[in-house]
Amino acid sequence: MIKKINLLIVVVLFFSVQHGISQEWLVPADKQNVKNPLEYNLENVKKGKEIFMRECKSCHGEPGKNNALALTPAPPDIASSKMQKNSEGEMFYKISTGKGIMPSFKATLSENERWLLVNYFMNFNPKKSPVLVVAPPIKATLSGRVDAGKKLVTVFAEFKNKKGEQEKLTETPVNICIERAFGNLPVGQVITNNNGAADFKIPNNLIGDEEGFVTFVVSLGEGFDAKKVVLGKAKVGTPKETPKLIRKGVIWSTNDNIPMWMLLSYLGAIGGAWITIGYVVFQIMRIKGMSKG
């Protein structure tokens, strides 16, 4: 009986492993050649990209960068040949049904949205000319200062133009974050004016460290090659409250909020015992003096 169970387990394991690592993902013939109802154009590709960034990027990574999550089987990069050898119908089918660790998006995305995704994938197809071309990133520099009195963060952005001259970076979003223990917390976005400058009004309820200090980090978004700039610490936040982990009123509390009766009982008992011991030791010392009398 046990042998049979063992055999069954081995068989089940074998198939499940096979299922997991299987390279072939067969799509029924009638689904393979379904035509994309949407037109392949910039607008649809852009919409598809938006969905991709929201729903797919976390596992598949950014196109062409091979930065997918290390899962088994590995989620393919959408610009890879492995992905692009699929027909549009096959892509649509696979998004819809899912397999193994790839979830089914039938319930999450509408049919239209799934086709938009396929449109975005086509942007990387070697047989098609891309409609959405990402320009090489612009080299830019950021600087900034914090005015604690006015509660303002002012940032300045510049970039190198084609002639190699420094030029003000106008009408560009700058991300404002603050440093936290486990990473940077975005608190807002400002757009630079004609002078390449922008002001960020620090909210009044911003929480800083124990003393109210906040460290701002400013960065440019996509399309720019600029370093994040960490601005100096400024006392512009409200101090962080450190909660007492053990509330008052429990017997086993810390020394800071120990119940008075508990402290007195402990010290009284131990003190009483040691005073008595001291008294006995004193008596012993007296014995020596008595021998002379």
């Binding site: 120990i258 119940p259 015992a273 040691w274 011991i277 006995v280 030791v281 014995i287 021998s291």
Partner: protein, 453 residues
């Protein structure tokens, strides 16, 4: 107590008593050396094991994430338990004027000192970083049973040492005055210093009686606290098997059983080794047997309460724990301890024959071993059930079994305790001479006389 009127008779009897009771100090033969060799060798091996543990960390023990209190803590509880007998015999029985217990009180104090001293050392054994013991004093919480335990163990050790020393002072004077060439000079020097210039005047006796009485009263609450607080280390948690309101008295009753058994064993060893048949008489063993029956019945009563009441209800976590003890992994140990270590001895000791020295000693050995394993059952099975969902936990975390190093260090605690007792027995008489002589009707004035030789 019949007063002996004749001075000659008094002196003769006193000389005999002093001669008999100092035999342990004077006696020096191959067996003594061999005994010391064995104890020192095993202690040294244990200390080496401790060195390995300090060097490599607690990973050399069987303790892991879930079972983080293992054999050391069980051993600690055992030693605290054994030490409690000092307070029962040399204080409670003394205050109640029970005269048969008087010759035994120093034996009980020896056990108490050795037990509580080792209990302190075992706690340090259990720490990966012994230096962090200081943190208890620097960062300790006044509301923590661990701080209470450390405080009370130190207090009890101090009181036990004083209660050993106080009745010893007149004896030390006796030894200083009477022991000549038989003992080495350094021993005589110790006697002379510790005797504090005692010459046995009425004021000195009055002071010493007064101080002893104060200590005997003080040791009762401290003695009760030491084991009650030790039990609270367990009972103050919510864990199944420890979360019990009777843990304090249950521990105290168990302590009397273990301590009485240890005292009986020691009495028998002294009686045999130092020829003290006339001092540790059959009647003392008989009375100790009765005392052992009494405290064992008390312990049995608490055991019934501790296991029957939760066993009746079998609350979820408690039920898992109890099944593990009653019919599971620890069933053999549990039932052996309860039947061989408690119920059977009680029945046997009801008969006069089994309260004779040798049978009683054999029973005591079995009971003491049972008492040690009982502590093991109290500490470990509870920890083997984390009562949390655990996943991907290494198999070695599920069950605890002590490693060689742990057993070595535990053996060290036993040999070290025996070493303390042996040194005390080799330095000082094992029975209080002056109290014993007085009990036999010899007037105090003869104690400070120099023997005519």
């Amino acid at each position: 107590m019949n007063k002996i009127e004749s001075p000659e008779e008094s002196r003769k009897l006193l000389n005999k008593i002093v001669f008999d009771l100092t035999r342990s100090i004077v006696k020096k033969d191959e067996l003594t050396r061999f005994w010391f060799f064995i104890l020192i060798m095993f202690s040294a091996v244990g200390l080496w094991g401790w060195g390995v543990q300090i060097d490599k960390g607690l990973g050399v023990t069987g303790m892991r994430d879930y079972v983080s209190w293992g054999m050391y803590i069980a051993n600690f509880v055992f030693f605290v338990a054994v030490s409690l007998i000092g307070f029962l015999i040399s204080s409670t029985l003394h205050l109640l004027n029970i005269s048969w217990s008087k010759p035994i009180s120093r034996v009980a104090e020896q056990v108490a000192i050795a037990g509580v001293a080792l209990a302190g050392i075992i706690i340090v054994n259990d720490m990966g970083h012994p230096d962090r013991l200081l943190n208890v004093f620097i960062h300790g919480r006044f509301a923590s049973p661990i701080v209470w335990d450390v405080s009370v163990v130190m207090t009890y050790l101090t009181i036990s040492v004083l209660l050993f020393y106080l009745p010893l002072i007149p004896d030390l004077a006796l030894l200083r005055d009477r022991m000549g060439n038989e003992v080495p000079k350094w021993k005589m020097k110790i006697y002379s210093i510790l005797a504090l210039g005692w010459n046995g005047n009425a004021k000195q006796y009055k002071t010493i009686y007064h101080a002893m009485r104060v200590l005997m009263i003080l040791i009762i609450p401290v003695g009760l606290s030491i084991h009650t607080v030790t039990s609270w280390l367990f009972a103050a948690t919510l864990r199944a098997g420890w979360d019990s309101t009777i843990m304090g008295p249950y521990f105290v009753a168990g302590a009397f059983v273990a301590g009485s058994a240890a005292v009986v064993m020691l009495m028998y060893a002294y009686r045999l080794r130092y020829g003290l048949k006339e001092y540790f008489e059959d009647i003392h063993f008989d009375q100790m047997g009765k005392l052992l029956v009494f405290v064992s019945l008390l312990y049995l009563y608490f055991n019934v309460n501790e296991f029957l009441v939760p066993g009746y209800k079998m609350k979820a976590a408690e039920g898992v724990h109890l099944l593990n003890i009653f019919v599971g992994r620890y069933a053999l140990m549990f039932w052996s301890v309860q039947i061989l270590g408690l119920i059977l001895p009680i029945i046997l000791m009801l008969f006069r024959f089994f309260r004779k020295p040798l049978p009683l000693t054999i029973i005591s050995v079995v009971m003491l071993i049972g008492a040690w394993f009982k502590r093991y059952i109290i500490v470990i099975p509870t920890l083997e059930h984390p009562f949390l969902p655990i996943q991907n936990v290494p198999a070695e975390f599920h069950h605890y079994s002590p490693t060689g190093i742990e057993i070595m260090i535990t053996l060290f605690s036993f040999t070290a305790a025996l070493l303390i007792i042996t040194i005390l027995a080799k330095l000082f008489p094992v029975i209080t001479i002056w109290e014993y002589a007085e009990e036999k009707g010899i007037d105090k004035k003869y104690f400070s006389e120099q023997p005519k030789s």
